[in-house]
Assembly symmetry: C2
Homo-oligomer: 669 residues x 2
């Protein structure tokens, strides 16, 4: 027991302080969720004040435990405890809850407040992030030992978090892997926005978690003795992740709001807050009040934690001295280090053989895995198709966390959210792979990777109707653009081996943002590049592959991925017609858009007619080729047939494309 | 027991016929999944030949049971049994599996083959569709009685189906509702694409379903006695949906492929097929072989089923005579009837008060619910926020299926897939509601609603950064366009009450496709429309609200939803500058695109500069306003603050928009 909080009445006071801050913060903002922070105040207090290994003075301490508020709407709970425990979050920030320019956003945002390990709010994601953090800790502990000894992850989850399928996916994985360093506490308050959980949520959640292979306990979430006993048992558990069903009451302590759905998403109101404070024996007129002895006790606890951290550092530096090679590897991983000649080495690894970009990508990934030890990942049960195994990397499985290949099962969404946490955990560059169409299944996680500016690699194969016989359910049409329009996400669609190497380099060097790969199932030819081609120009996202001959271009034909070859063929045929045609390949539109105007204008000269070719929706391409330009694509769902037949029927042969362009030139060019 | 199949050796022969067709179909296509059809042949045979109430001569029989192959990749299983049982699917179609122009697509597609109740392939969806079908049957049975008595739904689900979170969401709902007319059979073959389920799926699935409140049985999926006993018990169960864990073997009967992951997704090869046929005592040289006595027995069974259907019809017409009012209501529902003056009645229902479109929509929905009895739906635990309850409609809950309000819990994806089945079930126009940002959580289901051309209404509120304090995790930026680019989906974003009525009419009259609503949290003013305005023009998707004064327009300013008022303000200010400015509102871009060119050109005259205003990504708008046009929007993630502050900071005040346009006109106009 920490010396700081040896007195039960002080504990009660600290718990009520959290409740008061949450009530007052939501009231002042006139917006937010007061009920859940009140219901979870006791549990959160116990975790932060007694169990969690953390250091408010060093939120980035690699050996720390992690806390995830999956119920992100209860953000005032997190802000309150971070303030009290001594993180750099002054009272002024709590008072500016949900206001422009404050750090205390409506939902906790990673990167804005020290101690917020991940952005939560979209329900279910935090539970999966917890699984990812626990997995990362296991992996690092297995690899490095001491620095990551006994790292634990604590997650607070709401009804909503556990109704969402994504949390079920990740929880099944956690049970499968036996992540005994993970403790999820279920805020079983029986209240949802629409009313009682009796309306829609009557399953036996604890039993479901037992079925996933978890160690399940049931407690009164307001009884500190029970909370401690359950956490003690959870930490003592050797084989299974822990799930603690904590029966709580929303707006606990509020005389009228207690146990009501109204307390979920609206301020309690001045009268109810006053009544709550009065009932607790507090001065009803004081807002944002933290008693001096509560501050003092948290301050003392902060000192204790600082000492524990210092002790850890002593052992850690001893470990470094005793294990210099491991320590060097740890540093490389923590920095996500890539060699300075990464691009050149990946380009050198491009196989001579013409192949599908999923296969070329696999060859390049092998080299990347050697050069970048941070790279680990897996597929949603499609590794033989996505070609994403790291050869000789070893499988990660129960009791065996030293490998580099994860097996996510058919759980795209859980995969995405777990990968986000691997990235957030520091030092890992995770990848998650599936067919491009199934990016839809994990879209909320992909969006969060972009919002949090995390280096996650989303490797999507079978990236067009040319996957063939699987038909329209599996054939992306709108999918590429649906990803491209997510802010801060890069989408790369290489046209051949060389571009595949380039986009791997781009993605591995992009430390503060995710990259989605779009790779083919089918074999692609190698583009014929003009003499004097500088490979590094590929990193600019779009570039001239073959310049017009016979003078300045009077037409630019551009393509991406498997359709670049069609743009190339169109250039050849139209040059033969007497046109002066430039062929531009566009492996990454976002990288191209980020270039300066002079480069962009040099590739796509203003005023010169443009054609784009991509086997997907055309409307957004019209923004690139212009109103009078020609966007060749597909604006209907696909069909089930062999790829060559589809190419013929959908007009994606060289002949079709050339004739479409010729027809268009009659009126446009 | 059906007389047709009273002989055990004939049953074995029929089962092997299915296996043979599946092997041969995949082999001929040189693509597909042979192993699962072989593993599920016995179960599928028993369901179709013995249990299912269906009539191959009338696949649309309203009183039929339904079969869903959630494991859609095993499509040859479904095609084989449909062929054998006498649906209109000739042998030639089986032989053209996965080929251009055939009905036998790689995954079963609704609308292509009679007897295919829903499109499956994206895993997990079929399980949820089964829940939706069972719910629809309960609803109709409660409302109408006899015609829907004892309608059952049979679902075959794979490991993958049950790993996906979406199936867990819907299964929890099914258990909650006690849908005892639903039987899900789990193909527990322990093989996934990456290898054994030991790699990633070691949870106790049966126990998980017990936790959901299901009746769970465990059987040998190749033992016909056990299959029948389990199905008998499932049909006798009074209170719970049934989950049958059937231990099966992938590629059952194939000497070498048996129990291998290779048998999952690739043809077995000629030699293995021959060996399998030989092992079964069949002629290894015959392909697509159906023994005469097997055809004969299925033919006899078809006659039996036809007689049962005829008996049902007798009772049904007696029911109609005895219940003329109910029969009339049934007809109205089955036809999804809407009154001829629906548009006028909805327009008349527009409240005088200026309000958020979510509130106006709620008012109009009340009238729509009275006029269109097919309309039922619910929200993913956000009804008080999305404002989508049908007042006085009654809740649908366990043992009470007569209401019109569903409670989906925080399960957007399950909601989407359940709604798809409600639409497919015939007669229902379902709606599913949540915040716009969470359309990402249900995107695969939305896509399927578009692919299947089903009339599902997706009601999304809180449709921009102006939801305010909840911050970037909840603020759509790319979301509207991510929906707009899905083929065949309409996205409607009304700017005021009148447009809200119009888009409700549009959606309710669009029988063969889904519509996504984008509605505001915040209050909107009523647009000032020119005198002589014909409300019906709103149905054209974009229209002139206020014409330029002083001559032909030299500028068109358009806006959608909450930003239409800014376009309107810009028009007023720029007219005052001496410009001639037309203000166009765009409640539904897809409907506008579907108009003929002369209408489109009349609204957006070619050559006249254009400005668009929408609080989301701008790139696709550049396709509408043209290269030189101005697209005012947001290309970064949002922020947490009150909406008026966000409007100021993000440049969405009238002043900001006007000054942006003025600045742009200096160079462009």
């Amino acid at each position: 027991m920490p010396a700081a909080f040896s007195d039960a009445s002080l504990i009660n006071k600290a718990v009520f302080t959290i409740k008061g801050l949450a009530m007052d913060g939501v009231e002042k903002a006139n917006s937010g969720h007061p009920g859940t922070p009140m219901g979870l105040a006791s549990i959160t207090f116990e975790i932060y004040a007694r169990y969690m290994r953390h250091d408010p003075k060093d939120p980035a301490w690699i050996g720390r435990d992690r806390f995830v508020l999956s119920a992100g709407h209860a953000s005032m709970l997190l802000y309150s405890i971070l303030h009290l425990t001594g993180y750099d979050l002054p009272m002024g920030e709590l008072q500016a809850f949900r206001q422009w320019g404050s750090k205390t956003a409506g939902h906790p945002e990673h990167g804005m407040v020290p101690g917020v390990e991940t952005t939560t709010g979209p329900l279910g994601q935090g539970v999966c992030n917890g699984v990812g953090f626990a997995l990362a800790a296991k992996w690092k502990h297995t690899k490095f030992g001491q620095p990551f000894e006994a790292s634990h992850v604590y997650v607070l989850a709401s009804d909503g978090d556990l109704m969402e399928g994504v949390s079920g996916e990740a929880s099944s994985i956690a049970g499968h892997l036996g992540l005994n360093n993970l403790v999820v506490i279920y805020d079983d308050n029986r209240i949802t926005i629409e009313g009682s959980t009796e309306l829609a949520f009557t399953e036996d959640v604890g039993k479901r978690y037992e079925a996933y292979g978890w160690f399940v306990q049931r407690i009164d979430g307001h009884d500190h003795g029970q909370i401690r006993a359950a956490l003690d048992k959870a930490l003592a558990e050797k084989a299974r992740p822990s799930f603690i069903v904590a029966r709580t009451h929303i707006a606990h302590g509020a005389p009228n709001a207690h146990d009501t759905s109204e307390a979920h998403g609206a301020p309690l109101g001045k009268d109810e807050i006053a009544a709550t404070k009065t009932a607790a024996g507090w001065d009803a007129t004081r807002q944002f009040y933290v008693p001096e002895d509560v501050y003092a006790a948290f301050g003392a606890r902060k000192e204790e934690l600082g000492k524990a951290h210092a002790d850890w550092r002593t052992t850690y530096f001893a470990w470094r001295s005793a294990n210099p090679a491991l320590a060097a590897e740890l540093d490389a991983i923590e920095e996500k280090r890539t060699p300075p000649d990464l691009f050149e080495q990946l380009v050198a690894a491009v196989p001579a053989k013409e192949d599908a970009t999923r296969n070329t990508s696999n060859a390049i990934q092998q080299v990347a895995a050697k050069l970048v030890p941070s790279l680990i990942g897996g597929s949603a049960d499609l590794a033989p198709s996505t070609k994403t195994l790291i050869k000789g990397g070893g499988d990660i499985g129960k009791g065996n966390f030293s490998g580099r290949n994860l097996h996510f099962g058919v759980r795209e969404h859980g995969m995405g959210a777990i990968c986000n946490a691997l990235a957030l955990s520091g030092g890992l560059i995770p990848y998650g792979a599936t067919f491009l169409i199934f990016s839809d299944y994990m879209r909320p996680a992909v969006r969060l990777s972009a919002l949090m500016e995390q280096q996650a690699l989303w490797i999507y194969t079978h990236d067009s109707i040319f996957l063939g016989e699987d038909g329209p359910t599996h054939q992306p049409i709108e999918t590429l653009w649906a990803l491209r329009i997510i802010p801060h996400l890069y989408v790369v669609r290489p046209a051949d081996g060389l571009e595949t190497a380039a986009v791997w380099a781009l993605a591995l060097q992009r430390k503060h943002g995710p990259t989605a790969f779009s790779l083919t199932r089918q074999k692609l030819p190698t583009l014929k590049r003009d003499a004097g081609f500088d490979p590094k120009v590929m990193l600019r996202g779009a570039y001239t592959v073959a310049e017009a001959t016979g003078g300045k271009p009077d037409l630019v034909v551009m393509g991406t991925g498997s359709e670049a070859q069609l743009a190339e063929a169109a250039r050849t045929a139209l040059q033969a017609d007497g046109r002066k045609v430039r062929f531009v390949s566009v492996p990454c539109l976002e990288a191209f858009m980020a270039q300066d105007a002079s480069y962009r204008d040099s590739v796509l000269p203003p005023g010169i007619p443009r054609v784009s070719v991509e086997a997907g929706v055309t409307l957004p391409w019209k923004a690139i080729v212009g109103e009078k330009g020609l966007a060749i694509g597909i604006d209907r769902f696909g069909a089930s047939a062999p790829d060559t037949v589809l190419a013929r029927e959908f007009g994606f042969t060289a002949e079709s494309v050339v004739s479409r362009v010729r027809e268009w030139l009659k009126t446009a060019g």
